[in-house]
Symmetry: C2
Subunit: 455 residues, 2 copies
């Protein structure tokens, strides 16, 4: 008699080969050129889920497609668990500093190396394999299970957000589980107690009617690149806090109780140095590193461009200069309100010698979770049995727009239980996922479904 | 009996077709990918000059080749004139905002539209056609003539500078004439009395060891794009003057006499608006627009890049941020000294939370000319006869590195007599050259050679 855990061990190699197949599809959602690849990933995934015994479909949207699958044969009086994940990935090119092709997964040093290995193909796939293992060995699942795997988490997630609002009945469940995060050390699993929201925008500064000769007009024209730098330099105060009026107004205050909880699992400066490689910490001096990441909002310049930047020099005053700005928000801050505050402030500080505009892009709400509910406690027990360690609760710096949507629209507890490591280089070159943690994730996911019978 | 001016009229159409041939060769010197095209332009030009009766050769250098040609049959007691020009051009791509392909010259609205039409292929070619017209109609030239046409004026001019220093005897002449500039109005020709120098460098700011997730680390890492903006914002004072310590130290003071001369041909704010299209003038309030352009040094950001700037957003704190800086210098400022002052100042203002470096690139000295000498006066008469208007002397904002080299190494007066208009969009999209001014330039060049018999 093969137990479910015998099965996950016996099939380990095949599970990874299947993951490699999915990793080979460059499903980059942020760049429209890759739309056919995103679609190919959705088709692959739906076919795979049908193969293991689920009813699966690819749902077209105004953006990239959703993959929905379900197994509802546990009975009406048995709880239902919704698994959310995303099959799209961040952009990646070998020239960005990868040691191997980002969409040609390789295994060495105990890791799978590929874009999406940990964020999020490798992680959501643990739940797919958990369901397969239970169905193959026990013929059924302990609870009803739904999967909602989206294709534009890395580019705003508008489609899934709309779908949640328009199809609440289809997604009804007693809890949602998401594995799309990491921990600092493999012996200290993390359950996320909050995620940050996001407000994305583009700042454009323009000056002369076209690129003009820096010798003929330089000294009389306010260079848009200079003006952009001068505007950006006024977005923060010297101490690293954000200078935009009203930016912090709507935040819920960080309670002393929470600060004590956060301090139980600090990010040390040594860890910070090892993970970032930056010369010295920066940011609001009144908050610890862990608080700055999870409990404070930020304003980052994520891209900047203008003028001539190829080989050599071009003696111009450029017509335009651009910056992309991404703010991370905490609970109660509204993405569009933050955009408006930045837009108004930039308007005020733009000198009359140039023109500026700030263009709003997709945003997402922050979310805070109730860590005392039964779904959260089921996750605690699942980690203890499947992972081997008791998890702690922690505020997360990243953004999962779906969390606020599920919590507010479907009134469903959302359990964020990551199976990766913070050092996996998600979003950077050489993204990787530890092979043993992929397999431990599958076992933890099996335990989670078993613990959910009591929801 | 065909006179030289009959000939230039009869051959006008063919002269332009020949210019088009040269304009079709994308001799972009700043981008190494275009080196074969630069070479092709040199070969075309040398062959063309041989065809009209000159001894011509292509001279290999460590960079792009030089084209040298001569006609020395006027006799030893007759003066010699050296014509300098450049056959290389600034980069150009249709996407930059051109209405037609930059390397497919077209004629409409009385203009030739192409990269290099005015800077400098169209302008130096007037002297080539002047020599042809004289040789074909009179069988000889009134003076000995040498041509030195270089191929890297737009990328630092290192090769011609070295050649001038290593082959002074080959280039010996009584005056050098350069047509590589413009005037505001066609009825007010300009002889340049000074050109600005240049100091080029790249500023690099780095932070984390690679691009990192803005959610996981944002708020604790000093974003290199933010730090770059903060550094750049400190390079100027609020009034537009340059904040780098010592930047202005070595400049010769601008005399009251010169300020009066400059004020005789002011750039009005209306002209400035029409030419630049920028919202409002900017720069040092104590100096007029014309003074800021010709008599004051500048510090321009000509390119900036970092992070993700394609379609969509990438949620990163980037590893690096870059800016290209080009300073325009006035007489007595040294390019390397200016680089060192900027490098030291950037080092001082770089916070310990990021690293910065400033990398020196090619520079060039400024030059001031004696406007009372016989070569200058020959140019005045040539304009009066060939162009139809008396020229004025004016300081020029642009840079011609060759001027300082010729003046200091060969001890030769350099006459900068432009045949273009400031509104020709040199260095920008839709560069063009007025057809009638191309032909007037040829007639003025003929008159200049005739007036040079008295040097």
């Amino acid at each position: 008699m093969t137990t479910v855990f015998d099965y996950t061990q016996e099939q380990a190699e095949r599970f990874r080969q299947e993951l490699h197949e999915l990793l080979r599809i460059p499903s980059v959602s942020t760049d429209p050129d890759y739309a056919p690849e995103v679609r190919r990933a959705a088709d692959w995934l739906a076919a795979h889920m049908r193969n293991i015994g689920l009813d699966a479909e690819v749902i077209a949207t105004e953006g990239h497609p959703l993959v929905y699958a379900e197994w509802l044969n546990a009975g009406e009086d048995v709880p239902t668990v919704l698994v959310y994940g995303h099959y799209d990935v961040q952009p990646a090119q070998k020239e960005d500093g990868w040691d191997s092709e980002p969409f040609e997964p390789v295994e060495h040093d105990g890791q799978i190396w590929a874009r999406g290995a940990t964020d999020d193909k490798g992680q959501f796939f643990t739940h797919v394999k958990a369901v397969e293992a239970l169905l193959k060995t026990e013929g059924k699942l302990p609870v009803n299970v739904k999967f909602l795997i989206e294709g534009e988490e890395e580019s705003g997630g508008a489609a899934v957000s709309a779908f949640v609002k328009s199809h609440p009945e289809k997604l009804t469940a007693d809890a949602c589980v998401i594995s799309d995060g990491g921990m600092s050390r493999d012996d200290q699993p993390i359950i996320t107690s909050s995620v940050r929201g996001i407000s994305q925008m583009e700042l454009r500064v323009s000056g002369p009617k076209q690129d003009i000769h820096s010798g003929m007009y330089g000294g009389t024209v306010h260079n848009p690149l200079l003006a952009l730098a001068q505007i950006i330099a006024q977005l923060h105060n010297p101490d690293g806090s954000i200078a935009v009026p009203g930016f912090y107004d709507d935040m819920l205050p960080l309670s002393e109780y929470e600060r004590v909880e956060i301090a139980k699992n600090p990010m040390t400066e040594a860890e910070w140095r090892a993970e970032t490689g930056a010369p010295q910490p920066w940011g609001e001096p009144d908050y610890s590193l862990q608080e700055r990441i999870g409990a404070r909002p930020t304003l980052e310049i994520t891209g900047m461009a203008g003028g001539y930047y190829q080989a050599g020099y071009k003696t111009i005053v450029p017509q335009n200069a651009y910056a992309k700005i991404i703010c991370r928000l905490v609970a109660n801050q509204q993405p569009h309100d933050i955009y408006e505050k930045i837009r108004d402030y930039v308007g005020q500080i733009t000198p009359p010698t140039v023109k500026s505009e700030v263009i709003d892009a997709a945003g997402a709400l922050a979310a805070q979770m109730d860590i005392t509910g039964p779904a959260m406690q089921a996750a605690v027990r699942a980690y203890e049995k499947g992972w081997g360690y008791t998890p702690i609760f922690q505020r997360e710096g990243g953004t999962l727009p779906i969390v606020a949507d599920l919590q507010s629209t479907l009134n469903m507890p959302v359990v964020l239980m990551g199976f990766g490591l913070n050092s996996d280089n998600l979003h950077g070159p050489n993204e990787h996922y530890r092979i043993d943690l992929f397999h431990r994730g599958i076992d933890t996911a099996i335990n989670f479904l078993r613990e959910c019978t009591t929801l």
